[in-house]
Symmetry: C2
Subunit: 329 residues, 2 copies
């Protein structure tokens, strides 16, 4: 039996995802049970790296989420709308959903997961945090035996690249940012990255999984790296520290009760700490749990291939779950 | 609905597993759907850290795998027999199986997985490699979108502890081994660890998942750390390398064809490589794939809590899969 995917968006991650699905040899055998049925894009005329049959493409995004033949809707449009509405419509129609949209999940996760729970479908989102590093699924399941104490790490590749360059070359923030923009590591409007907003979206998602319940995105303390100077980095190094933008979620005991702290800010990390040596656009996430102790996941935090790898891992996960259901005698 | 576990073995890992299952508050909510039904041990009289009702305990190990009420058999006896036979009997009776037995899997994995496939049950084994670090499940599923190029790393905590101590203190192998035995980090008979046999079992398991097919355990080249001297470590450090016992599985092109190399040996690792700074009893596993690039999993490679955490993650995984089946309309 086969599972039909409706893809929303054919940007870099959408293209990477389609390339993996169209070329399954040498990958997980279950991938051969998956086929791309339709692809929704904003513009048909745009020149694209990947040529798909014209009959497969549409600009009517709603027609993807309502198509009765489609089993799995993969949302890779980015941005809040129409992504949020399309995800909700797909759920209402009983579709399984995969998304890498951290902005939507951090703000509307509660609405989306409640809707999915009501209908009995899955919404998976490995690509939303940590690029291609498997972290969502391990946190949801492999670490489920543990009482989670903290989840923290470097979850924004752009700012880690900037801090790494500032540290290696002694240059200032503005100069390195301009270089990063020229190299395509930073956006023309770098606000979401350098002010820590992207990292805050991601830690909101990780904290919700690790600790359960609702994380109010607007209550996350968030300080970016604009005010970190080359001199700060230099002094920190002399004292035996690296400066890293960390996203942190941790339980803390306060007045006898338990509180959850979620925050993003530049942090002095001791040079011998595993996070101190995570350089460039890499991401690394540390999870501390009882009885496990501390584990770290490290890898490429960005890039079309990395995120596409995570998106396809969610599709595989769905195929396993749906396959288990279908095989019931 | 509930899932009944039959536990084979109540040593350190079995005890840790039972403690998590008996105390689910604050962990994954699905754990409350799991109960320990019966526990098979070799001796009832042995003093134990964990007191279970006498009615739950038996020395008739076969009665666990044939008990019609038991859904999931968790094999934590260790050693080849009767572990292998009990696993095969459990499969024959349609039980789901969880094991942390790397020796059985490395030698009889083929027989066991064929039997499980024939009956349509799962055999999960996250605890067999990397202690509590989630690596089996990510490799099987989260990284399934990728063509795996190599899997390698530090998979034996005892030898990594010995090499770390030799490096830090300049002491010789025999002296550090004696200390490690006194501290309980090394067994009285250290052969399986120091000669690389345990690492070879583990890389056989990882290679079978990453590259598919059958890995002949006896064909894995295996050199341990007995002949590594303090002088070797000292010279290596001066040249900018650490000496680590690596277990390696990688594809290589040879004469136009593709071959798989699987081997274990002391390796010169450049000081700035992420594996060079993995010290003590920690484990770290690097996976390189296309299109993902390289990811690393790092954490406590040993210890009752770590392995028990991995065993319970398998039980949770089974509950998800069986739950998905049970919920089918």
């Amino acid at each position: 039996m086969g599972f039909k995917v409706g893809l929303l968006g054919l940007g870099t991650v959408g293209t990477g995802t389609a390339q993996i699905l169209l070329n399954p040899a040498g990958r997980h055998p279950l991938l051969s049970a998956v086929e791309i049925h339709r692809v929704g894009v904003r513009s048909l005329g745009k020149p694209r790296q990947l040529q798909l049959p014209a009959s497969m493409m549409t600009t009517n995004l709603e027609s993807i989420v309502t198509d009765p033949d489609i089993d799995i809707v993969v949302e890779l449009l980015g941005g809040l709308e129409p992504a949020r509405s399309l995800i909700l419509q797909a759920i209402k129609r009983g579709k399984q959903v995969v998304t890498a949209n951290k902005a939507v999940l951090a703000r509307y996760g509660d609405e989306i997961f409640s809707a999915a729970h009501g209908v009995g479908v899955y919404v998976l989102f490995e690509g939303a945090v940590g690029g291609g590093i498997p972290v969502i699924q391990p946190l949801k399941q492999s670490l489920g035996a543990n009482r989670i104490i903290s989840v923290l790490g470097i979850v924004n590749g752009t700012t880690n690249y900037i801090l790494t360059e500032m540290s290696a070359k002694g240059t200032g923030f503005d100069e390195v940012l301009a270089q990063a923009q020229a190299l395509g590591y930073a956006e023309a409007d770098p606000t979401a990255d350098v002010d820590g907003l992207d990292a805050a979206d991601k830690i909101a998602i990780l904290a919700a999984i690790a600790f359960g319940g609702r994380i109010k995105r607007e209550e996350i303390f968030c300080e970016g790296i604009r005010r970190v100077s080359a001199a700060d980095i230099n002094y920190a190094a002399k004292l035996g520290f690296a400066i890293k933008l960390l996203a942190i979620a941790q339980r803390s005991s306060r007045n006898g009760g338990e509180a959850l702290q979620v925050r993003v800010h530049p942090t002095l990390v001791p040079s011998n700490h595993p996070l101190a040596s995570i350089n460039g656009v890499c991401n690394a996430i540390l999870v501390a749990g009882d009885p496990l102790g501390q584990v770290m996941f490290f890898g490429p935090g960005a890039g079309a291939g990395a995120t596409a790898s995570a998106v396809v891992s969610d599709i595989l996960n769905l195929v396993s779950l749906l396959g288990a259901i279908a095989l019931k005698p």
